[in-house]
């Protein structure tokens, strides 16, 4: 196996192996565990860097192992997977640091970090999957790896949330699987191909209806993780998980995997033109739009901060779907780049929410009055993230929205602009009051459960990650046109998918 075939495996292994080792570490080996985690994360980052450089220079990376006759286990690196891989590697490092700080002195850390690493492994696998079956493999693995993280707290609420999560995701996985197998029986291959393979390979006798049904199955399966309404019910419940998990869930792994899958299915399985031709993209776009609006409205009424953020995620993640379902390269750029942008912003928000909960015991929006005076840096990061979500320039969210809007125009679907506008208004409606209360209200009294965390407002391991990600969120917006920026990648991807 040469290096170009080994690299994807190495990238997987860089989180898998530490994860497996960590499972067997005694609780007390904090340093070893942290070192392993960070080493794995750094190593992955380096390897991803090598891969990005390689792809940039025209190397193609592909690992191919036989799975069952006619179907291979394929990992490969194309522009789209690299975008996601890079995102998850970077955010993994940050989240690891955060989690180390967050879980200091809490029980079952070996278990936690073990599954944590598995989770990222699965995400990276999802990203690099070269065909639908490999994707499915890692997609389901992701379900399994995240479940213990969701129920990590071990409370009854956590258990129920975990069950709810599973109900949705496993059912979704099943739909996805049916769709995948069906597609396989029709096409005989599942390899992701630029521009899709379905239109070429589906035999002439294949009815369009069955292709539509398969599409619906696939999207429904992916839509569960991508939290498309009405398949979103698990996400707000999953909020009982510790903050780093929520961060991971919302920004890096689970919802992203769903959205990423939708991108894959539309572009590399069906091919956007064929999908549009089948008439499936418009309903999907409408569904995504409905999700955006509905979840935003729901978010308005949540007092629990993390629940509010969860509904915000549901809304925001559908931008990605909306982007790819809007037929046209510009909207595609918007959708794809939002994959990264949403991740950066949302992870910031969750980190901050975690900081508040961990340091002050603040869980509710109504408890956040004046919290910015106590934790200015945290809330600064939060504010950046929230403004980005609203779509205030020059933050990341604005760039996504701009492309989505322009793309909608290009596709002749002006209504999408209205959706974006409405969503922005709603985003503002549920984020600005938080910002206002935090910065401009006086604290009501003692914090619910304040715990001194060092000399700064909280531990540096908790403070650094949100600041870094917030700065990223600012930078990717402000410097959107710099080479290697997410936007540039997204443009590259869109060019390939649209065959230019």
């Amino acid at each position: 196996m040469n290096s170009s075939a080994a690299l994807p495996l190495l990238i997987l292994g860089s989180s898998l192996l530490p994860g497996l080792v960590i499972f067997f570490l005694p609780e007390s080996r904090v340093r070893t565990r942290s070192a392993l985690n960070l080493l794995g994360a750094l190593l992955k980052l380096v390897l991803v860097g090598v891969m990005v450089w390689g792809v940039f220079n025209g190397t193609s990376y592909e690992t191919r192992l036989p799975l069952i006759p006619g179907l291979d286990f394929v990992l490969h690196a194309d522009a789209l997977s690299l975008l996601f891989v890079t995102l998850s590697s970077v955010l993994w490092l940050v989240t690891t640091i955060y989690a180390i700080g967050y879980l200091e002195d809490s029980p079952h850390r070996s278990r936690f970090f073990g599954f944590f690493s598995l989770c990222v492994t699965a995400t990276v696998g999802v990203a690099m999957a070269g065909n639908l079956v490999t994707f499915l493999l890692f997609y389901e693995l992701l379900t399994l790896a995240t479940y213990p993280l969701i129920v990590h707290r071990g409370t009854e609420v956590a258990r129920l949330a975990g069950l709810s999560y599973l109900r949705y995701t496993i059912a979704g996985g099943a739909l996805l699987m049916i769709g995948t197998v069906w597609l396989y029986t029709l096409c005989g291959t599942l390899e992701f191909t630029y521009g899709g393979f379905v239109h070429e390979l589906a035999s002439a006798s294949t009815s369009r209806e069955s292709l539509v049904v398969i599409f619906v199955l696939l999207i429904a399966g992916l839509g569960v993780k991508a939290a498309l309404v009405p398949l979103h019910g698990w996400l707000p419940q999953a909020m009982v998980a510790p903050a780093p998990v929520s961060a991971l869930l919302h920004a890096v792994a689970v919802v992203k995997a769903g959205a990423f899958g939708i991108v894959r299915v539309i572009y590399d399985v069906y091919g956007i033109e064929f999908a549009a031709n089948l008439g499936v993209t418009l309903p999907l776009a409408i569904l995504a739009a409905a999700t955006i609006v509905y979840a935003s409205v729901r978010a308005l009424f949540q007092d629990d901060l993390k629940r509010r953020l969860a509904f915000s995620t549901i809304s925001q993640i559908s931008y990605i779907t909306l982007g790819v379902a809007t037929v046209g390269p510009i909207a595609a750029i918007g959708g794809i780049v939002h994959l990264v942008h949403q991740g950066l912003m949302k992870i910031t928000l969750f980190f901050c929410a975690g900081n508040l909960a961990e340091t002050l015991g603040v869980h509710k929006v109504s408890e956040m009055d004046g919290v910015a005076h106590r934790m200015p840096w945290t809330m600064a990061a939060f504010t950046l993230g929230a403004l980005g979500m609203i779509g205030v320039p020059p933050l990341a969210g604005f760039i996504s929205k701009w492309y989505l809007g322009t793309g909608a125009m290009a596709a002749g679907q002006e209504w999408i602009v209205a959706v974006l506008v409405g969503s922005s208004v709603l985003n503002a409606a549920y984020f600005l009051p938080i910002i206002y209360a935090a910065w401009f209200r006086e604290a009501k009294g003692a914090w619910p459960a304040e715990q001194p965390r060092g000399s700064a407002e909280t531990r540096w391991t908790l403070l650094l990650p949100p600041l870094v990600t917030a700065l990223f969120a600012l930078a990717v917006g402000l410097l959107a046109s710099v080479p290697f920026s997410p936007l540039e990648w997204a443009q590259l991807i869109a060019e390939r998918e649209y065959g230019r």
């Binding site: 020059p394 922005s424 208004v425 409606a429 401009f440 402000l478 410097l479 046109s481």
Partner: protein, 583 residues
């Protein structure tokens, strides 16, 4: 990509410095030990803007790495805006340093003052949609903190309402910009307006920027915000930021390229409406700053009219543009000076006599606003009148009348202002020494700046015909007379002001309506939620009943009975045999 001359190095640095100096200074306030020094320097953050305004050669600076590729640069319109904006920020800043001395939130004020300044100046030098939008948003959001600075309930309410409008404006602009950019196929503002624009884009842009410009009916935030903000903030709000809405129109709308008769009608109607409405509501205000704020609405209404005329007749657009610019220029300074003066007056406290010099000083900008001859107002108004003269017959006459009517109203409004300034109760006197120099500077700017205007021919102005003079004078005279009569009668108790409209005017019914709606909505949702809860409870009950439903289990146990499994076994045998036999 248009062929533009790239700017020289020095000019590039200056252009970047225009928004970045205030931005960096704002950031520099993060460490608490630097705050004092930065506050002291804050007003001067607008110096680069002045320099650019003074020395720009109109070259463009491309920053391809910024956003989606940005361009900064200077043009004629920008120059005018930059001049008055920078001056206002400078003087208001200097004024603010003293005004807020001793205020515990001074540092915060100046941090956001600088941020807002950065946005305001930055949008003027922006030559592409995104950076314009970026700076516009920066300005809009940052100024929120200036408005609610006092954090008294009125301030908070004003701030809240302001932010509603900001968000509304932002999203409208976003939609307009996105759609417009797509239709135009460019992100650069110099190429932008030249292309066809759909009605919806135009509408979005007009309303979106109209919010900032205080256009009717989206003006409601303005009086609240302007009157409650600290005076230095009011100055820049009413003088500078309000004009950025106008700049938005100028930059984004296809003015001078395409005739937009329908939109023209809308603008003219809304403009005159605002002009008159501002006066009528303003007259009933008890707060000098509120009066001034309504005056701003009224004056901006006139500018809107000018814009509307330009929409109707693209061929006379250059004329329109210069009229509008002059008016904006004039209004910015005059309003700035008025606010500064009113601020001083409010700070003097005590005897009315001490306000004598202030009132005297206020006369100058007030006259200017009323359009008395030899003031900037006269120049501005004559430009507008000339413009209207170009319109077809019935329109030109009627609008001239309306214009005069507005002038009368403005005079009355100014009279009201003086009345209020003179008689208002005020609290403890404060040190006002530091406030005077910037005000005096502003007064001098009001007095003389218009003469620096390149297209204003001093000689022409001085040799205005008697008819012209009369035209300029009679509304003011009429207004003054009316005001005097009203005041006299009111003093004798013979006249009561016929109506009283609270600040924020249409907000009152709107918020009443929204409260009502909200209550019934929440009532409805509550009921719905209750019903859903009931249903969920029923479902839950049903589910738990299902769980208690033991028959699968009983059946399973039954199946262990010998007879039963025996029967099944034999039945299967028989069935199998039959099926095979049939096959």
């Amino acid at each position: 990509m248009s062929e533009v001359m790239s700017a020289s190095f020095a000019e590039s640095v200056l252009l970047i410095a225009v928004p970045f100096v205030p931005l960096v200074m704002s950031a520099a306030m993060l460490p608490s030990r630097w705050r004092e020094s930065v506050v002291r320097l804050a007003p001067w953050a607008s110096l680069p803007a002045l320099l650019v305004a003074a020395f720009s050669t109109g070259e463009m600076l491309d920053l391809p790495w910024l956003l989606l590729g940005s361009r900064l640069g200077m043009d004629d319109v920008g120059q005018v805006f930059l001049v008055f904006t920078a001056v206002l920020w400078l003087l208001a800043g200097i004024y603010g340093r003293s005004y807020l001395a001793g205020d515990t939130r001074r540092a915060r004020f100046f941090a956001f003052y600088l941020l807002t300044m950065s946005g305001n100046l930055g949008l003027i030098v922006s030559q592409d949609i995104l950076s314009f939008y970026l700076f516009f948003a920066l300005m809009s959001f940052s100024s929120y903190v200036l408005i609610m600075h006092k954090q008294i309930p009125q301030a908070l309410r004003a701030g809240r309402i302001y932010i509603y409008f900001v968000v509304l404006g932002e999203v409208l602009l976003f939609a307009g910009a996105v759609m417009g950019a797509w239709q135009a196929g460019t992100l650069y503002l110099d190429e932008f307006p030249g292309t066809a624009q759909s009605n919806i884009v135009t509408g979005l842009l007009i309303v979106g920027f109209g919010i900032k410009a205080g256009a009717l009916p989206v003006h409601a935030w303005l009086p609240l915000a302007h009157s409650v903000a600290p005076t230095p903030a009011s100055v820049v709000l009413s003088g500078a930021m309000i004009q950025s809405g106008l700049l938005g129109w100028l930059r984004f709308l296809p003015l001078g390229h395409v005739a937009l008769p329908e939109w023209s009608l809308v603008c003219i109607t809304a403009g005159f409406g605002a002009a008159i409405y501002g006066v009528l509501v303003g007259l009933s205000q008890d707060e000098p700053k509120a009066v001034l704020a309504y005056s701003s609405i009224s004056q901006m209404g006139l500018i809107t009219v000018g814009t509307g005329v330009g929409m109707a007749a693209p061929e006379i657009w250059p004329l329109c543009l210069s009229a509008i610019l002059v008016y904006a220029f004039h209004h910015a300074f005059a309003k700035g000076a008025l606010f500064l003066g009113v601020g001083i007056a409010a700070s003097t406290g005590g005897a009315m006599t001490r306000r004598g010099p202030i009132v005297a000083g206020l006369l100058l900008p007030a006259f200017a606003l009323a359009g008395l001859p030899f003031t900037s107002g006269a120049v501005a108004k004559s430009g507008l009148t000339e413009l209207i003269g170009h319109l077809p017959e019935p329109w030109s006459v009627r609008m001239a009348t309306l214009l005069s009517l507005v002038a009368v109203g403005t005079t009355c409004l100014m009279a009201r202002l003086f009345y209020l300034v003179w008689f208002q109760e005020s609290g403890h006197p404060q040190k006002t020494n530091g406030l005077w120099p910037p005000w005096l500077a502003m007064l001098s700017v009001v007095a003389f700046s218009i003469w620096l205007w390149p297209s204003v021919d001093t000689a022409t102005l001085l040799t205005t015909s008697f008819a012209g003079l009369w035209h300029a004078l009679w509304p003011a005279a009429a207004g003054a007379t009316g005001a005097w009569v009203a005041w006299t009668l009111a003093c004798k108790g013979l006249l009561k002001f016929p109506y009283r409209i609270p600040v924020g005017d249409i907000l009152v019914p709107v918020s009443w309506l929204s409260r009502k709606l909200g209550r019934s909505w929440s009532c409805m949702t509550d009921r719905f939620r209750q019903r859903a809860k009931d249903r969920a409870w029923n479902l839950q009950q049903a589910f738990s009943g299902l769980a208690r439903f033991r028959s699968p289990w009983q059946l399973e146990v039954r199946m262990r009975r010998w007879e039963i499994w025996g029967v099944m076994f034999v039945t299967l045998l028989v069935l199998f045999y039959v099926m095979l036999a049939l096959a």
